[in-house]
Subunit: 227 residues, 2 copies
């Protein structure tokens, strides 16, 4: 156990990060888990999912970081109370109001700082290019550029690889792969609106529900009536 290489997994509490944890575990790393509270409306529920997932994957090294600045800065319906969370429009090509500017970059830079202190050699992030909500910082081209920033901006002896194991998967495939890997989806949360029962209507619920429906599998979390 002592000589295992370390990896940081970004665990938001959503399905993607849960599947990512399973990948990192399978790759043989000793895991450390990072969770960001960026003032999102459903943080209490997401934090609980984070803790449950860490327990499930026996992760002792946990770091929860408050990044209030993302709500100070605003611009997103997820963090700005003045902006309503709109219902999903999965056919639209526009970047939705839930977009938090440069969020993945913020998450990753924090992870890189921690990785350099921990001596971790990999950072797992559950970004998806195809089936995301169209956010620019979920694309391979962004991660490739960011990797270069990491290589040039850290100590010469530091080698940190950004890993995006599910970037090419659809939500449906993530659920399928996750099921096969034994991911406890009951300990994950996707809804942007509610910490009680999931609304079933926001972008994130819509993507999740569509994935489960396409596979004909029951989603074990609670939804408001009608979903």
């Amino acid at each position: 156990m002592k000589n295992k290489k370390k990896a940081i997994v970004l665990i938001s509490g959503g399905m993607d990060s849960a599947v990512c944890s399973a990948y990192a575990k399978k790759d043989g790393y000793q895991l450390a888990a990072l969770h960001l509270n960026y003032g999102q409306k459903t943080e209490s529920k997401e934090l609980k999912c984070f803790e449950n997932l860490c327990d499930f994957y026996s992760i002792k090294d946990r770091l929860v970081v408050d990044v209030d600045f993302l709500s100070q800065i605003g611009g997103s319906s997820l963090t700005d109370k003045k902006i309503d969370i709109s219902d999903a429009d999965l056919e639209s090509n526009e970047i939705p109001s839930s977009y938090v500017p440069f969020r993945n970059a913020n998450i990753l830079t924090i992870a890189v700082s921690w990785a350099e202190v921990l001596g971790a050699e990999a950072i797992y992030i559950g970004a998806m290019e195809e089936d995301s909500s169209g956010y620019p910082d979920t694309r391979k081209i962004f991660f490739k550029a960011f990797q270069k920033a990491v290589n040039t901006g850290t100590k010469p002896e530091t080698n940190i690889e950004i890993k995006t194991p599910i970037i090419d998967l659809s939500k449906k495939e993530i659920i399928k792969v996750g099921k096969n890997m034994g991911v406890p989806f009951q300990h994950t949360w996707s809804c942007y609106k509610s910490s009680g029962k999931a609304c079933g209507k926001c972008d994130s619920c819509a993507l999740r529900l569509r994935g489960f429906q396409q596979l004909g599998i029951k989603d074990l979390i609670d939804y408001e009536d009608g979903f």
Copy 2:
């Protein structure tokens, strides 16, 4: 005034950021100022300098962000109370204990998020490659890579340029250029150790003092006896 392009200036309260503000002003931008409190030991003094510099440059749009995570993560004598701040060794090629892992990347990602919300087209950062303390994320090669991450990780209509106007200058040249531009160095702070009188001994004091001495100019801030 209304149609001026906006730029964010990162104002730590140090000399470099003060000179950077002068450059941004000269370049004709309407300025917004970002200051980060990362739990450094001298924050109270630095924040005061930030406010004074904003007043001096008539900057109304000010954002002070707490990034406690950098002290949570630790690893630097600037933020970790368990690590002593060592006296300067300007001849050493080693990265000193004051290095905050990936700090500039963290600062810049926050600035980019804010820039995207504000519609700012430039971010000024007072990084210096040659005369820095040997931190990897003060090098041109890092900023070039980070610029690509910005281009790929923000909305297609967003164009944010990272500007490093003093990157090729020495501390001596910064003071010289700053003097010519009327930069109020009495409103800047460099010492890593003290918020009262500057210690004169830490890396940052040593670089500052050497710069003023080389130019034969008096530094107007207070130092402990003997400097």
